[in-house]
């Protein structure tokens, strides 16, 4: 809203209200992104992969400087850029790495490599989570006005006092706290976590089933991975179908407005 008016600007101060805690969310988001790149770079240095080290260092510097020095707020563009940098680095690294890298396929079974991968993955998750949390509760900056001059301050005070005198109740309400918002968001992950655990267990069970069904003289090796891939494909299909069907089920349920209802009766 733009009002080209001297007296309005003298009386009312336009403020862009940012929600409390947004700075913490912002900082966590940026730092987790920086740690992700730092860990990959350190691992490349430890495993003596010089070219990937240089590449990840460069990508890390680009990502961190874009995070901290551009005025762009956290949104779709920022995490797509982060994802693009991550995928780009991974693809290049997969071609250029030596033996001890987290991108070298033959070493993927090793515990230390898995630990590196999990820790880096978790930092990516932290970044994504803060991005969603920020977008949900902190992103929207609200334009509000506050009284600046004595005239407007008195006007507001008198109006509030007069409202209390009438039958129009007036009471300001406080918004929910940061922790309530966080617990609300995390609480939503409980059922999906149970579902995913069940799915993984079913995948493992499926692998065992095949392992016991195959005669022992044939390929007698327990391989869980194909079963998990199969489950992942099934779950993906389920989610895609649900996304198409669920909104439609609710739309059918919406009641017919009263006036339309009457017209149907008349016919």
């Amino acid at each position: 809203m733009r009002i080209r008016d001297r007296i309005f600007e003298e009386d009312w101060e336009k403020i862009i209200l940012s929600v409390r805690g947004s700075n913490i969310a912002h900082l966590t988001h940026h730092i987790s992104g920086a740690i992700t790149f730092a860990l990959i770079t350190i691992q490349s240095a430890i495993s003596l992969n010089y070219i990937p080290f240089a590449i990840w260092l460069l990508l890390g510097v680009i990502s961190v400087s874009l995070d901290f020095f551009s005025n762009e707020s956290i949104g779709t563009a920022s995490y797509l850029r982060f994802g693009f940098l991550l995928i780009f680095g991974t693809i290049i690294s997969m071609f250029l790495v030596n033996f001890d890298s987290i991108f070298f396929q033959s070493t993927f079974g090793r515990i230390d490599i898995i630990l590196w991968q999990i820790i880096i993955g978790l930092f990516i998750v932290v970044r994504l989570f803060t991005a969603f949390f920020y977008m949900e509760y902190f992103k929207s900056d609200f334009d509000i006005v506050k009284p600046r001059s004595n005239y407007s301050r008195n006007q507001l005070e008198q109006y509030e006092q007069n409202l209390i005198k009438t039958d129009f109740e007036f009471k300001k309400i406080a918004s929910t706290s940061f922790w309530q918002k966080l617990s609300n968001m995390l609480g939503g992950f409980l059922w999906p976590l149970i579902i995913l655990t069940l799915l993984t267990l079913m995948g493992v069970g499926y692998a065992f089933l095949i392992y016991f069904m195959i005669p022992s003289n044939a390929i007698a090796e327990l391989n869980v991975r194909p079963a998990l891939i199969f489950m992942a494909i099934l779950y993906s299909v389920l989610l895609i179908r649900a996304s198409a069907v669920l909104p439609k089920t609710m739309m059918k349920k919406t009641s017919i407005p009263e006036n339309q209802d009457e017209s149907i009766k008349k016919v």
């Binding site: 001297r6 991968q117 109006y159 494909i233 996304s243």
Partner: protein, 458 residues
């Protein structure tokens, strides 16, 4: 009450769904946890959004919106109360957003609030809005977001009706005592009304005593001088016919137009309280509104007739407005024109001579002052501004240029008005007022001032 559900997987959600599936399957295929873990997290979020939808599908909310008043003056305040009832069995943390038209802006509390509602509980939420623009405003409906992942899966209920609010012209900030207002009207009557002998209060002349004259009207000093009875004669009470022309065209827009409209209302309400007649003509290319306020009707009624006037931006045609007035046979009136100095001045004031031929007195009220808007010569901007820095133009060149331009235009208007015996009045800004401006003008007509002026000329 209207109730609408807005449920949709957004483009972001679709992208994430695809990305998460590809990431998990690819991660499993190459055995890399760097892909599996973020992919699973995406899955968690999307699944969580679906589960929120499934658990909240039968949850219904009751919403009622209450306004503190139906119409508000521009720059006035209005309170909105919304009562939200949670009919579900579980407590809900919901995000509530109040929709309102561009006429309003929130004070202190933003339009969106995250609140927790207990089962079967009703919560009252209040917003205080400031009416920043005049016109037909609206408040409502209320949006209730049920899940925390609205950027991926929109799950909202749109409840409540749209309530319309009339935002009337703003209140004058300068308090003018009634004595001044009365004085102004008396001076106007004295100056503009035709003088007819009769039973008024104003002194007209002296004449010889006639049978039937009241003794209290005998002028004893004159009687003593003349050595015969001399009595005083009085003027008849004369109604003035005020015509208020409000320009809706050219560059009358924004705060300038709003202030002009408020001034029209203020002046009209002053005239309405007296015995004088009044007609308001709002014109652009054609006459858009012609209002004859009835005596004794309050200001609110007048404002409700005028509040939704919007400037059109096209060149106004004053001639048509004057012809309209002629057709209505509104002769011998005091025409007060509320306009500015923008656009083609000669074209704009075409019709003044016709008004003069109808024996009307003309007062031009100018709202083109520095407080309201800037005006600049298009020729200068085209030719010379290219060689200067933009900031320099805004900061130093333009204000001085505008002042010069205004002065030139003011002189032109004054010249045109001089030919028809009209007067020019400025409303200098927010600290000025049309009644004060007219009062200043009428002071110019006062007998002492007239004597001084004539003496200077002589």
């Amino acid at each position: 009450m209207n109730s609408k559900a807005n449920i949709e997987l957004t483009k972001n959600g679709k992208t994430f769904l695809l990305l998460s599936s590809i990431s998990v399957i690819l991660g499993l295929a190459i055995d890399n946890f760097l892909f599996i873990i973020p992919g699973c997290f995406f899955w968690l979020i999307i699944s969580s959004a679906f589960i929120y939808f499934l658990t909240n599908r039968n949850v219904e909310f009751g919403v009622s919106i209450k306004l503190s008043k139906e119409h508000v003056r521009n720059r006035g305040l209005i309170a909105i109360a919304a009562e939200i009832t949670n009919t579900a069995e579980k407590p809900r943390l919901v995000r509530i957003t109040l929709s309102y038209s561009y006429h309003f802006t929130c004070i202190d509390t933003p339009e969106t609030l995250n609140i927790r509602i207990q089962p079967k509980e009703s919560k009252k939420i209040h917003w205080l809005l400031l009416a920043a623009r005049r016109g037909n405003g609206s408040v409502g409906p209320i949006e209730i977001s049920l899940s925390p992942f609205q950027s991926i899966f929109i799950n909202r209920r749109i409840l409540g009706d749209i309530k319309s609010i009339k935002i009337l012209p703003q209140r004058p900030r300068i308090y003018i005592p009634w004595k001044t207002k009365k004085d102004l009207l008396l001076k106007m009557v004295h100056e503009f009304a035709h003088r007819i002998r009769g039973r008024g209060d104003e002194f007209h002349s002296l004449r010889e005593y006639q049978l039937g004259d009241q003794f209290k009207h005998i002028h004893w000093f004159a009687t003593a001088r003349q050595e015969k009875l001399i009595s005083k004669e009085f003027e008849d009470q004369k109604n003035l016919h005020f015509l208020i022309f409000l320009d809706l065209g050219s560059n009358m827009f924004g705060p300038k137009f709003d202030y002009a409209l408020s001034s029209v209302v203020e002046l009209s309400s002053l005239i309405q309280g007296t015995q004088h007649d009044l007609a308001i003509i709002a014109y652009e290319e054609e006459v858009q509104r012609y209002i004859i306020p009835q005596v004794g009707k309050n200001e609110l009624k007048l404002m409700l007739n005028l509040y939704d006037l919007e400037p059109t931006g096209i060149q106004s045609n004053f001639m048509r407005a004057v012809k309209f007035v002629k057709n209505q046979r509104l002769h011998h009136s005091v025409a007060i024109i509320f306009s500015d100095l923008e656009g083609e001045i000669t074209q704009k004031l075409l019709g003044l001579h016709l008004l003069r031929s109808m024996e009307s007195r003309i007062i031009f009220v100018n709202f083109s002052t520095m407080d309201f808007n800037l005006l600049s010569s298009s020729k200068w901007l085209q030719n010379q501004s290219i060689h200067k820095e933009y900031n320099q133009i805004l900061g130093h060149v333009l204000p001085s240029l505008v002042k010069d331009e205004y002065k030139q235009r003011e002189i032109l208007v004054r010249e045109i008005l001089f030919t028809v015996g009209g007067d020019f009045v400025d409303v200098k800004g927010y600290d000025d007022n049309v009644i004060l401006s007219l009062y200043r003008l009428m002071k110019k007509y006062s007998p002492t001032q007239r004597i001084i002026r004539e003496a200077i000329r002589g």
